[in-house]
Symmetry: C2
Amino acid sequence: MAATAAFVVIGDEILSGKTKDKNIGVLADALASAGIDLVEVRIVSDHEDAIVSAVNALRQSADYVFTSGGIGPTHDDITADAVAAAFGVGIDVDPRAYALLSDWYEKTGRTMNAARERMTRIPFGADLIENPVSIAPGFRLENVFVLAGVPAVFLAMLETILPTLEGGVPLFVEKLPFACGEGDIAEALGEIAAANPDVSIGSYPKMSGGAFTTEIVLRSRDQAALDAATAQAQKLRASLPDAAPSA
Amino acid sequence: MAATAAFVVIGDEILSGKTKDKNIGVLADALASAGIDLVEVRIVSDHEDAIVSAVNALRQSADYVFTSGGIGPTHDDITADAVAAAFGVGIDVDPRAYALLSDWYEKTGRTMNAARERMTRIPFGADLIENPVSIAPGFRLENVFVLAGVPAVFLAMLETILPTLEGGVPLFVEKLPFACGEGDIAEALGEIAAANPDVSIGSYPKMSGGAFTTEIVLRSRDQAALDAATAQAQKLRASLPDAAPSA
């Protein structure tokens, strides 16, 4: 059984349409490679109750929870306080984070101020997550990993975390493009799915030039089971006429 | 008070990273233009219990709920059954949907089959949502709108729905780019936010060429309040030295 993960994207800018999320796809790809199942994503607003309820719901249902956004220096950066509230622990300026940032500002000719100090407030009991891009750290509290929302920083933090996660089980994947629409193969495909319980078979319609094609994706943690199901799907594809794409 | 909306994205293909979602940004933009607040998005897997719990949680908390995906003809298309289960109503082949699709297949030289008939199964009591792209309809049950996942079809269905939604309140938006990082303006910005309770002020750091800049976005449904806060933010920006971008 593979470990499971959930993702809480914190940001009014995504919900308002102002910013198009880039981190969901990055995390999904990284977890898939690590053999960890991403089971749910929630995008919530910059309000403490919304963050607290999402984090508390998902840290119960998933082995790992990642959050992105809301750990900067501005008035709308409330993630650290919300996560502390979710766990019922205190939060204050963290000497480790303060040292990292004050050194960084000194090196770069800037000065610590109340807003930047805000980025050093870390819930009690949390471990810091290194930020090689802009230094201000993320943190881990139990199974919850709090990361920055800026994609370059999110990815850098994620890359430091991934090797520390346990429970990954490699997932084997085969993809078969079909020139026809789903309606032409759905019945035969359903029979193949029923006959191969250890293989997850997904059917993904695509529109290209106003016509539908279909990509069949077979996933399994059992290579032999995947090979058997893939052979059956290839046989199905070979049996089809060169169908005009249809839905 | 503006109406609120939530979005349930149904699809293992998004969670697995295979497909990068395009519909969240499209819906967020459309609702923002309509003056309706998107308050939460959940991406869930193709499992009935996951869909049922997301739909039932969000149809209570939001005025409108949209879903995308899982209404095609294949074995993994279970959204209609899951939504029927969420509402505790029955589901069967819908004569209106059946007529639409059988006519369409006849016109396009194809034949109805069990898989295509699956796309005509609609929960009892639902209204159909027109699909001008590939005909197979979505449906509305109370405040829940069930749409296709293929972006071209999702958008076409959304465009037919939007004019029917009530409660939209136009949102006025001003954007001010700052050449500095958030840390240089966070304190002054916090004071402006506190002094303008009717204006939502967001601060969005961006990395460009390894340096941080900041975009300040002011939003309000009160034009006069927005103008006042925007003037204060412009005054702040004018007061800054040409700072080297920093975090």
